[in-house]
């Protein structure tokens, strides 16, 4: 399927906006909806594992050793649930 972008003329767009592809939500970067962002303070983090299950958007990557890494800001919408959940103050919400 050809790449459809905001410059694509109507004749080249698919009828009804159908996408002839799967798993394409990945391509829709929703991070710019954010007004406040979580900042990961790794020195305070105990890797307790409470933050990433509560993220509604899978924006906290977990590596092979089951340790969380820094936020994926492409998708984090800044809801702040992780910061509320963290018992160690390792996530701080800051203005964008």
């Amino acid at each position: 399927m050809t790449n459809i972008n905001p410059n694509t003329p109507m004749e080249k767009m698919t009828p009804g906006g159908d996408i002839y592809n799967s798993g394409n939500a990945r391509e829709f970067k929703t991070g710019d909806w954010r007004s406040i962002k979580p900042v990961f303070l790794s020195e305070k983090c105990k890797q307790c594992g409470l933050c990433f299950p509560v993220c509604p958007d899978d924006a906290i990557p977990v590596n092979k050793d089951l340790k969380r890494e820094d936020f994926n800001y492409d998708y984090c919408k800044g809801c702040g649930v992780c910061a509320k959940t963290c018992p160690f103050g390792a996530i701080e919400m800051k203005e964008e």
Binding site: D18, I19, N21
Partner: protein
Amino acid sequence: MSIRERLSGNEAAATAMKQINPDVVAAFPITPSTEIPQYFSTFVANGTVDTEFVAVESEHSAMSACIGAESAGARAMTATSANGLSLMWEMIYIASSLRLPIVLSLVNRAVSGPLNIHNDHSDAMGVRDAGWIMLFSENNQEAYDNTLMAHRIAEHESVRLPLMVCQDGFITSHSIENIELEEDEKVKEFVGEYHPEHYLLNQKEPIAVGPLDVQSYLFEHKAQQAEAMKNAKKVILEVAKDFEKMTGRKYGFFEEYKLEDAEVAVVCMNSTAGTTKHVVDELRSKGIKAGLLKLRVFRPFPVEEIAEALSHLKAIAILDKADSLNAAGGALFEDVTSAMYVCNKHVPAVNYVYGIGGRDTKADDIEKVYEDLLEISKSGKVENPFRYFGLRKEAK
């Protein structure tokens, strides 16, 4: 050879559906269209068709199930009336915007309230800008014929739009008339099979249907729908030509009844055209040059063709069986007069709102309309373009 039968309009629609044998029918009963899914469910129960019949809990669900089925790659049909269509309203727009050629049998009835279950066109007029092709039928034969042609039009590659076949509630839906049916095999061959290029159940090509359509895209998708509606005009005529080859019955955008040499004419849709033909014949026998334009294809609206067909007249009356309640005339009146304006054809025109909530439309009423038209044609003046007939008013 076609088969002589006598059927009601609802039986005619259900018979067409039986012969089409769609993959899915999802419907909810509502007067006066109830009989269509009722008859159809007996075909399902008897094994006459191999359709999956979904007995849904509402019309919103009926249209939703049709959308799901059609996206999956199936051919889906439904039937409804009035408030049933109102409850479908949200999904009516989804169906057309997702370019799903669903076929709906709409048995026209007044949208309440106050509560009324009788015929007028307020249901259809409520969805006139929803991106559906809309065919109107004078009688049971036309309801049957329009349904047989529906899929060929709706599913055409250059169209891909849902389509509704309208007929008048009770007046045609519950009246038994003679009808010519086509043989099952011939219908099957005429309608053909449905093989969409992209569909959800295709394992080889996973697709997403109806994704988020933000500011950079919706405008273009709407323009595509508008383009498809324009393309439908050509397809409607092509399909009608093929249909005529099979049945000998001729269809166009509209029927011109004694219009060619007429001086005054009425424009109307559905069963009123039958009554009007009778009046035209009566007037012709008295030497009055009366004519009729019966519109079959309301969406897409045949702008140039209508303007051309009416351009030679001295006065026109456009009859609306739904009041737009806008102080500017009914929907058909607005479309016809706007078509004539943009085509630079000026003929004095007057609008009559009539038949609301099943009010009887009598030959006498229509004769009076022609009398008014003769007056207008003499003076060339229209005193009050927004009129009623059949309405009770205190005598002045």
